[in-house]
């Protein structure tokens, strides 16, 4: 029982990191109607930015985290403006999808060029020691990951529902043409969405590498795919869905690693996705898309 609960907490910790990444995926999908497959690699860039500032340059940890956030935000804006915006009105949505895959490779190889392909040891940014609560041992990173994701999601929900730019994002997600007829700049709103998603990816990158300290240019690839799965799982386009999807995915992954098989854990995660999509094709929180006649 003790080990089960410990695993559950670890699962929630990993899941909350997936959730932070998945929210970026799902927001960009909801508003820009595209799958940004380079999103996972933004995580890696964030982790490298923090690594460079903290480990290589020896500056304080908060500076490193801040640098990671700024760096990823600018990167997200640049990716959107340079790579995706020119294709926004291209005939095929495939054009932008393929570009996203291209951006992903560009970031991975760019990181390889600058930092080399060997794995770096990322020193945790979390100063908290492992906490023992009764019979449970909870690593500091776990607590910080869960807390951070809860705070980020709450702030994001308030931002979306209570502020003008947030309402503009909702409007663009529901009907872009109508949004521009309200005086909303669709392009600026999409840029803002990328900026927010990428800033969150930076936080996720720093947390992920604090929990799993191996950092290489492909570090973001697998968490990126998992977060995409989490977003689909929760119903792509839905922020609460991405949160729940991320948490569930993390728990399923850790539990199957602990009780079924380490090698099969990823396979199980994807199998669960397939089952969910068979039963509920729109994901847990997804809306049925009505075909207009």
């Amino acid at each position: 029982m003790v080990s089960f609960i410990t695993n559950l907490i670890n699962g929630l910790s990993l899941g909350s990191i997936y959730a932070i990444i998945a929210i970026g995926y799902t927001m960009v999908y909801g508003i820009a109607k595209m799958l940004n497959f380079a999103h996972g690699d933004v995580i890696m860039v964030g982790a490298f930015a923090a690594y460079t500032i903290i480990s290589t340059m020896g500056l304080p940890t908060p500076v490193g985290i801040l640098a990671a956030i700024v760096c990823c935000t600018l990167l997200g804006i640049a990716i959107e403006k340079i790579a995706y915006r020119p294709l926004r009105n291209a005939g095929s949505p495939l054009a932008v999808l393929i570009t996203a895959i291209g951006v992903s490779y560009f970031l991975q190889n760019g990181a390889m060029l600058i930092f080399g392909s060997d794995t770096k040891m990322f020193s945790s940014v979390v100063p908290l020691q492992t906490l023992s609560v009764g019979p449970f041992l909870i690593p500091g990173t776990t607590i910080v990951s869960i807390l951070t994701s809860v705070i980020l999601v709450s702030v994001l929900q308030i931002f979306i529902n209570k502020t003008r730019p947030g309402q503009a994002m909702l409007a663009c997600a529901q009907d872009r043409a109508a949004a521009s007829l309200m005086g909303i700049s669709v392009n600026n709103t999409i840029t803002l969405t990328f900026a927010i998603g990428s800033a969150m990816a930076a936080v996720a990158g720093v947390l992920l590498c604090s929990a799993y300290p191996a950092l290489s240019p492909t570090t973001g690839a697998m968490p990126g795919i998992k977060a995409f799965v989490a977003a689909v799982f929760g119903g792509i386009g839905s922020v609460p869905g991405a949160m729940v999807g991320g948490l569930l995915l993390g728990v399923i992954e850790i539990l199957s690693r602990a009780y079924i098989s380490t090698q099969l854990s990823d396979a199980i995660v994807f199998a669960v996705l397939i089952v969910v999509l068979l039963v509920k094709p729109t994901g847990l929180f997804g809306k049925v898309i009505q075909e207009k006649v």
């Binding site: 309402q167 503009a168 909702l170 409007a171 007829l181 309200m182 005086g183 669709v186």
Partner: protein, 236 residues
Amino acid sequence: MALLKVTELSVNYGVIPALRGVSFEVNEGEIIALIGANGAGKTTTLHTVTGLIPSAAGRIEFMGKDITKVPAHKIVSMGMAHVPEGRHVFPDMTVYQNLLLGAYTVKEAGKRDSILKEVYEHFPRLKERERQLAGTLSGGEQQMLAMGRALMSDPRIILMDEPSMGLSPIYVNEIFSIIEKVSKAGKTVLLVEQNARKALTIADRAYVLETGKITMEGAADDLLHDDSIRKAYLGE
């Protein structure tokens, strides 16, 4: 000086011309009807005027300013609102949230509240359904919401695209009487309609659009009694 002046406007969809040198004028306070068959270019005209689609040639002037190349989201704050065909309300937002988005360009809260009050006076039904999701409203109510939302930007001119489309006869009458009320309240109206009889009844002047060209124009009353119009558009 005309409030809205469109000169020799041409629009192409790929290689297919949709508008071929369309010119018309809307003066302050008028209700202008733009009538024509399906595919004549009525919606294209409105979309081009509000900057949703680019023009190939021609000039659009609003209050004396050239707005031909101004993007849609900047035109709203200049005082032009567009009620799109098919209503396009935000389905997952409440009536109230939809109306607030209509006032996206209105920065002062006090002004926003007073416009909202006016809109609720025009559309008491919207006030009753304030907290309801727009997607759950009936077609006629959604049309009212789309019109109310457009009025929320406090426009000088309001462009309406097929406001009576798909509505029951009762709603059609109600919508047209609201258009007249909005006009009396000081708004200039450019109305695109397939229901030519209704449109000509409330309009001051009208233009007839056929395959991308204006083929006829004049006082709405004259067009209403014109033989060729009666045959082609009034089913007589």
